[in-house]
Symmetry: none
Subunit: 258 residues, 2 copies
């Protein structure tokens, strides 16, 4: 994950976005992944106030800054990255897949020698992407690898989805494990408990005549044990299954369990 | 990247999606990353025809299938994964970050040995996510790690963006995949079979009065379903357990199984 300081050094720059809903969607993705610096480049003031559809992104939208051109929007950045579809046009730039691009962008944010790198990621308009003129402001380009559909012109990603995927990759690095919780840590069943369950299940098979109907090979106990082991029980579920089988035996009347 | 065959074995299941635009956005992300199997679970027929806003996703939408409930939507799947927000509710399931989850899902798609794993990824409604009842159909859950905003309720991702990010991660190259255990050779049980076992076990709990002695919470069926799912049965063991439970019911005399 990126630190708060690193997150604050990333600018998402939407160039000629046409649809306010997409600006809102981009802001929402930024909020989700902890980014806050949204810049919008439009010749005419963009309808930012119409972009407030974004749930929980109002702070991102509120702090969004409009610029009249790309040069001014990226002026304070130390690395400018353009996004593009593969095959979109003759590329004059180095082109990286998103995952490699993210490594480089994180490196830029972490250079630290007493100063801080600031990274701009440019997204073009929904219809035409970034123009060659706009791309010329970029150090290099990234692309989100997509599926090639035979015989079909290459699809472009939805703008909000492209922003979400790019920002996800940027923070993806080491997932913060502390967010993930306990069930994983469930205490496994011990062999002794599994053995008790094996014996109980064996009794159930005897008393229900299952064992007689499914003629056991010589190692039928081993069969039952392997069946139990393959359940991969944790300690809590072992207790549940013990209870169920005891209850079955009690109901069958062949056992003095209460 | 996944092969064409592997891509075809992934089902994106939208449960109670309310907004046709989001169904369209999910379909578009599926198209972008090469997936085609969209399933929509709604009590009433969903407005699929309203979801055609999705550019270039018309083929995905055209082949989308509507189901009345989660059980039927995942019946032919060997691995069922739910998506959730961290902290959304008390989790009964193992929870993995998306990147780890993708490794496991790819492993399921690549088990091979003459049969094919099929993976369902469930996304809940925009407002409420997946209910506990719906989650009980899942083997485990994944979450997209998001930023924790101090003092703010946790944002949920936009549905179309969540689908895009999850599918991106699934097709993203993961150098760590080779670290996974050699896949188990056994053919896994399908969800439809696990559902039959859930019902049988529920009958056993009823007839042995286990259910009465262990006062069930409201979602006792979901409890039983999760217990069954945690067994991680392969197809052969599923058959064995079905046989055992049928025999128990037969012996209890409350069932007309032979």
């Amino acid at each position: 994950m990126l630190t708060t300081e690193e997150l604050a050094q990333v600018c998402v720059v939407l160039v000629r976005a046409r649809n306010p809903v997409n600006i809102g969607a981009a802001a929402r993705a930024m909020h989700d992944f902890g980014f806050g610096r949204l810049r919008v480049v439009n010749q005419y003031p963009p309808p930012l106030e119409m972009a407030r559809s974004a749930v929980d992104a109002s702070e991102v939208i509120a702090h969004a800054v409009a610029f009249p051109n790309v040069a001014e929007a990226v002026a304070d950045c130390t690395l400018v990255v353009g996004t593009t579809e593969v095959g979109e046009r003759d590329l004059q730039h180095e082109l990286l897949a998103l995952s490699e691009a993210a490594v480089r962008m994180r490196a830029e944010l972490r250079r630290g020698d007493g100063w801080t790198g600031r990274v701009a990621v440019l997204f073009g308009s929904e219809k035409t992407g970034l123009s060659n003129q706009e791309l010329s402001h970029c150090d290099w380009l990234l692309t989100v690898p997509m599926h090639e559909h035979a015989g079909l012109r290459h699809a472009s990603m939805n703008l909000g989805q492209a922003v979400a995927v790019c920002l996800y990759e940027l923070v993806r690095d080491a997932p913060n494990d502390h967010l993930l919780d306990a069930p994983k840590a469930a205490e496994p069943a011990h062999a002794a408990g599994l053995e008790r369950l094996t014996i109980l299940l064996g009794e159930v098979l005897e008393q229900t005549e299952y064992a007689r109907r499914h003629p056991a090979n010589r190692d039928s106990e081993a069969h039952v044990r392997r069946l139990v082991r393959r359940m991969r029980l944790d300690a809590a579920d072992l207790t549940v299954w013990m209870g169920i089988l005891r209850q079955v035996l009690w109901k069958l009347g062949g056992n003095d369990e209460k």
